[in-house]
Subunit: 456 residues, 2 copies
């Protein structure tokens, strides 16, 4: 056991009590809204079978999975040729049966299929758990981070979309973050591809136009040309990417442009229903139609949702959409679902940037009893018990240390009240309650002190 | 993407909404009590550097660590000789830099040392997070399970012990589980070893006498003989293991027997102080002195705590103790700490066995609106918004499905109220609120419905 300077793996974090308070503020807000809308929590294991995870996030994703070395004689199943060749990618699957979950969506799909006989459909679940990715760590990107997902499966009603948008609106209203709620529909994207006569190029088109915000229209067009679109096709696409006006005007224009595509028109109608639905109920957020919005298109099949903070330049802070075949890969086809995912870490950064945390409580403790030792400490502990029974978070400095040290502790933890129980107070069954903000001091019974503390 | 029957790694579990409700009941109870006593939350990463974890849990523990395969070319640092020899134990450390945490104590020690300059001492923290062990799964033993720890470091005052015992008492009082709170002190154990003239045999002695409940005095004596104790030493030990009477009588008898051992006497005095302290404040739990209690002796140095359920035959459901050198291994000697750990999974089993869960709420939802589609659904959604704004968890069945199906959903989720908004109700801005328990139905405004639902 040698002494060493301890550290944690790069891309991971410790959370101090002060950071936990901020994070719990976010999680509690999201959780309350999820519950308010009838979503119920589930949890899945940190480790999934690699067979569940592999192939679900593309080739790049497979590489970013944290894999867990089999216990015991892990070399037994390993092909010596792969070892000799140094073929780590293929060897990993022989040394490891399990991996850490990469997101909450695939474990949820696995959960739904595995427990299909116990589930009441439509099944509305939320899940707030960490995920792990062997990404290169950088500012705002971690190897362990939390996702906060709400999904409903077993219903293709657009009521779900409307409610999920209301939930997003409510979460950010409570957090006091102004947002822009961007909407699109994958059927609109398919309609566009059909319109320009390149239905097989839908992935290329959406990958390219998804970058319009970042690289501008000209560069997107250059990329489209590179991906094999003709000048004519690019020209047909242009008016769609340049649609402007109010939400109603833009939906109207899209309806004109996509008139010839049945699928495109269905997408427009879905957008119209969702927009009408949320507008009728009222929304704090700014609603935006963005035909360049694609997000993980490979599994979204209908509505696509993305949220940006209006006052902070940061990537999307929430996203989601409808997927019609998420569980198909696990042998349960035809189950439609729609969901949203809040990015807790980015929301944390936004709240920090805008200084929107309610109060800098560094502890739940409302009052600290000074420890004078002996009988006085024993009397203080009796009063402590009474005040705790009344629900007041309270503590006694454990050691009868110097007054300055004890007060320094209360100060450092921003504990709002200090209670002093000396010989006289102990005899009377009272305490001197000191308000740390004003310095005011009052002789009170524990019950009176509870009343004072609770009015803060 | 082939279809397959999905599953999860053995020894891990999914938690359904119903199970989550029960688990959260336990976690919330523990968390509230931790906060009430001035303990603040921290979280540490799931992954720690293997150098932090290895060698802290004994040779057996090292084998039970889940190790994470390095990303990319993990074979680069591997010694070909170890591969050729099939020396998996040593090879694992070359293929893996990280492991999943095995408990919360070692990560906490690492945290304290790493952040020592930011911490206000005494530092009172709690931590509720999962841990992972590659143990052979069996009934009640999982490879992923939660620990709920509270520890204070930087204070050697016995006030901490007294408060931790009060916390244990309060948690189980709230959970309505009757417990036996067993106490011992490692200095008493050291005194016993000294008394029988075998101070170097303290580990052997405690390992053997720790089994007295399971195997009986005769078998313990046989084991002690096997471990090299003479007949005379075993005879000296006998009266200590057979101490009986009230707590006071037993402490008195121990004081007589250990009179010649300075360390032993210090242990008795510590026990006396702790017992007097908690008795003065009152305890629901039955307090027991158990000199055969040893628990992970290798790091406990003072008080040792163990909790058994009085009405269910199951292992210990909470444990803890004082350790004087936990952070020494990370280069920070001389920091005393004391802590307790609640075993959430066993507590879960106890509550299930005794049927002590408050209510079988399968969802937070208080009311489900039946979906009649069209304008009625739109009117219902407006009422929904109003009721949610008043804090009522509510939902609308997303599809305008057959009445029977919608009611079946509300029934399956045990939602207490169903709201019906047909054409007439929609025109009046009212809803028909049906109490699912009584079948009673009332025409109400949303505000009136909120009042009714909240009185339940």
């Amino acid at each position: 056991m040698c002494a060493m300077k301890p550290s944690i793996p790069k891309g991971t974090r410790d959370f101090s009590p002060a950071e936990m308070a901020k994070r719990n503020y976010i999680f509690d807000t999201i959780r309350s809204v999820f519950r308010l809308y009838g979503y119920n929590p589930i949890e899945t294991p940190a480790m999934e079978n690699l067979s569940t995870l592999m192939g679900k996030y593309g080739e790049e994703g497979d590489k970013l999975l944290f894999k867990i070395l089999n216990s015991g004689d892990f070399l037994r199943g390993a092909d010596p040729k792969l070892i000799a060749d140094g073929d780590c990618a293929r060897l990993a699957s022989q040394l490891c049966e399990k991996g850490l979950r990469y997101d909450l969506t695939v474990p949820f799909a696995r959960y739904v299929v595995q427990h299909r006989n116990e589930l009441q459909m439509p099944f509305k679940r939320f899940q707030i758990q960490p995920v792990w990715r062997a990404d290169r760590p950088q500012k705002g990107r971690y190897r362990e981070f939390y996702q906060c997902d709400a999904d409903v499966v077993g219903s293709d009603s657009l009521v779900n979309e409307i409610e999920l948008l209301q939930m997003i609106d409510e979460v950010f209203r409570r957090l006091k973050i102004r947002i822009i709620l961007k909407l699109n529909n994958r059927k609109v994207l398919a309609g566009i591809a059909e319109l320009i006569g390149a239905p097989d190029k839908i992935v290329d088109i959406t990958v390219a136009i998804d970058k319009i915000d970042k690289i501008g229209l000209d560069n997107v067009n250059a990329e489209l040309a590179e991906r094999g679109l003709t000048e004519e096709q690019i020209a047909t696409l242009r008016p769609i990417l340049q649609i402007s006006g109010t939400l109603e005007e833009r939906l109207g224009r899209l309806r004109e442009l996509l008139a010839s595509s049945e699928e495109g028109m269905r997408g427009v109608e879905e957008l119209q229903t969702v927009v009408d639905g949320v507008m009728a109920l009222g929304l704090d957020a700014e609603l935006d139609l963005d035909v360049s919005l694609a997000r993980g298109l490979n599994y979204y099949t209908g509505t696509i949702i993305e949220v940006k903070a209006a006052d902070v330049a940061i990537g999307s802070i929430t996203g989601g959409g409808r997927y019609d075949n998420l569980t198909g890969v696990f042998g349960m086809p035809g189950l439609s679902g729609v969901g949203i995912s809040f990015g807790a870490d980015r929301i944390y950064d936004v709240l920090n940037t805008l200084d929107l945390y309610p109060s800098e409580a560094r502890t739940a403790t409302r009052v600290m009893f000074v420890n004078f030792g002996g009988k006085e400490a024993a009397a203080a502990m009796k009063m402590l018990k009474e005040m705790r029974a009344a629900g007041v978070a309270a503590e006694i400095y454990p050691d009868p240390a110097k007054m300055k040290k004890q007060m320094g502790y209360a100060d450092a933890l921003a504990i709002p009240y200090v209670a002093l129980v000396g010989e006289t107070e102990a005899a009377e069954g009272k305490l001197n309650l000191k308000d740390m903000a004003t310095g005011e001091q009052r002789l009170l019974t524990p019950a009176e002190a509870v009343a004072v503390i609770n009015t803060l």
